[in-house]
Structure formats: C-alpha cells, structure tokens
Symmetry: C2
Subunit: 168 residues, 2 copies
DNA sequence: TTAAACTTTCAGTAATTATTGAAAGTTTAT
DNA sequence: ATAAACTTTCAATAATTACTGAAAGTTTAA
C-alpha cells in the first residue's frame, strides 16, 4: 500500500472509532494526524490536511488539549502556534481513561449513591427490584473505579505482566 | 427520595451515560426501565413509560435483543410479546464488552494489520513515524484483545480477586 | 501607539442521527 | 378464508450535533 493511501485510511479509521465511542469524528481525525506527524503542526496545516475551517480546527485542537492528548509547542522566532500529540500509546490510553472516568464515571457514582435509599414500601416488588439493581451497580461501579485507579497508577508492564500470568 | 423520582433519575442517568458512549439514548433508557422492572414488559408499557412511538420502541427493543441484553418472553395464552433484561450486572458488562469488541475492535485490528507494511522510502521521517505508531498500536491493541478475552472467559471473582491482590 | 499576525468566538447553516406514525406484514383463532 | 391482534418497516420530519466564516479579540514588534 502507498503511504498516502495508508495515511488516509488510518485517519478515517481513527475518526470512525472515535465517533463510535462518542467522540467528535473531526477531533479524532486531528488526533490521528498529529499521532503520525514527525513534527509539530500549525493550525493551517491541520486545516489543509482535513479540509476543515479555521474555527473547526481551533475548537477541536482546544478540546484535544483539554483532554491532555495534545500540547502547544512554541518555535522561537515564529508567532504561529504548533501542536504535537503525546506519542506513547499507553500514555494516550491512560489519559483518555482518566478523563472519561472524571467526566462520566464520577457523576454516575454520585447519582447511584443518592439512589441507594428511597422512601416507600420496601416490600413492594418494584422497590425491591430497584434497590437490588442499584446495589449491584454500586458494587460494580465501585470495583471498576478501583480497577481503573490501579490501571492509572501502575505502569504498562506491571499490569500486563499480571494479566499475562492470569492467562497462562 | 421518592420512588418515582429515583426511577426517573435512574432512567435519565443511564440514558445520558449511553449517549456519551455512542449508544442511542432511547435504547439505553429502554434498557434502564427493563433493568429495574420486576416483571417482563410489553412494547405498550415501554412506550407509555418513556412516551415514545411504537416504531421507536420496536427498533430499540430489537437493538437491545441484538446486543443480547434483552430477550423476548412468551406468556401462554397471550399474543403480546414481553421483554426482560439480563439482571446480573456483571453479565451485562460482559455482553456489552463482547459486542463492542466484535463490532469495533476487530475491524480496527484488521486495518492496523493492513497498514503494517507500506511502500516507499522507509527512511523518510513521515514513513518512519507512521510505521512506529502503527507498530505501537498493533502491540497495544493485541494486548487489549487478549486482556478482554480473559475478562470474558473468567468469572467476576477470579478476575477481581487478582486485581485486588494487585492493589494491596 | 499602531498595525500586522495571529487566535478565538459564535450566530447562522449544514450534516447527521433519531423519531413518528401510518401502511404493510405476520400470526393466530375461528 | 377471514379478520382481529399484534409486529415491523420506512419515508417524512424533528431534534441534535457539528461546521463555517467573518468579526472580535489578543499578542508582538517596531
């Protein structure tokens, strides 16, 4: 396969995967471009590469920075801003997990905790079923939370070495 | 908190979480209703509970069945179809992971494999960076794939007992 | 200061995704 | 066979989400 074709396919695949996981397709595509770029890129270059507007490029780059996946790079003697992506894929995964945990898991944990005690006839089938499900979820999400913390605190090799041991 | 308020909040939270993860909000809400229902529900009851149309209910219930999270239940002497959700939350998680792996991880693995060999000057900075990223991804996704298989094949206690050991 | 070089914002618009509801399809009982 | 009771489909429409581009804002250099 020719390089340009491979590059286009990579950008498209990364974008599709992102959109399947609730991440703006363009944001994922900008990320893909930066992941495979050997040098920091300007907003102009990103706009040209994806044929998107300045506003769109700006907002998606900013989002990537908020996700801690991309950062600005200053070139001395140049007023333009350049952008680079974190290239260590394990670190990329950690940062995505960290961010989604903060944005999505923590609010859910909070709601579940509120729903653990409800008023009314505790013997009614509806309330019994509801309470049982909330308790299951509370336990499950709590375990997940701990596992994710582990994942975030350990390094790649430590975690995988244990998983591999499990597998054998 | 009163039961009906708690129920409404649970349905809404589940729906929001779903939409953040690329799953149709209504599908997630139908799932939420069934998760906390002590009995199998008909399409009519689900339509009424969420104020949605027959077509919408039908399609989302079908999707949930395709995800293997909900199944039909036949009541002797009744022509209506009734639906129930898998209630074991660990099993729910396993089925979601299994389905997403099949739908999303496997196609990505396939593309990555195709992109591992590309034509052109292997010394160029662009190709070197591209190849390096593809190789990292190949290794990472391969490990993830194995870990997910493990997760799917072991039971909850086995896996978590090892994670807990890790954490201590 | 001034103005050039750049970045950010956001109202309007476009693209995508989800929903409705009525018609078509299917199953069951008689 | 017929019709009642139910489910499924899908074209039209609505709702949501993303994008554009020009104007406003900011920074830097002289």
């Amino acid at each position: 396969m020719e390089f340009n074709e491979a590059k286009a396919q990579f950008i498209q695949t990364w974008g599709k995967l992102g959109s399947e996981w609730g991440i703006n397709r363009t944001m994922a595509q900008v990320h893909a471009i930066l992941l495979i770029s050997p040098k920091a890129m300007s907003a102009e270059e990103i706009m040209a590469e994806l044929s998107i507007s300045r506003g769109n490029a700006n907002m998606n780059i900013r989002d990537l920075i908020n996700w801690n996946l991309v950062h600005k790079e200053l070139v001395p003697g140049d007023r333009k801003e350049y952008f680079t992506a974190e290239k260590d894929i394990w670190e990329v995964a950690r940062r995505i997990i960290k961010e989604r945990k903060k944005r999505e898991m923590e609010p859910v944990l909070k709601v579940i905790n509120q729903l653990k005690t409800i008023e009314g006839d505790q013997q009614s089938a509806e309330i019994k079923e509801f309470t049982s499900m909330i308790n299951q979820l509370d336990s499950f999400v709590g375990k997940m939370d701990k596992s994710v913390n582990l994942l975030l605190n350990e390094n790649e090799n430590k975690l995988f070495s244990i998983l591999f041991k499990l597998m054998s």
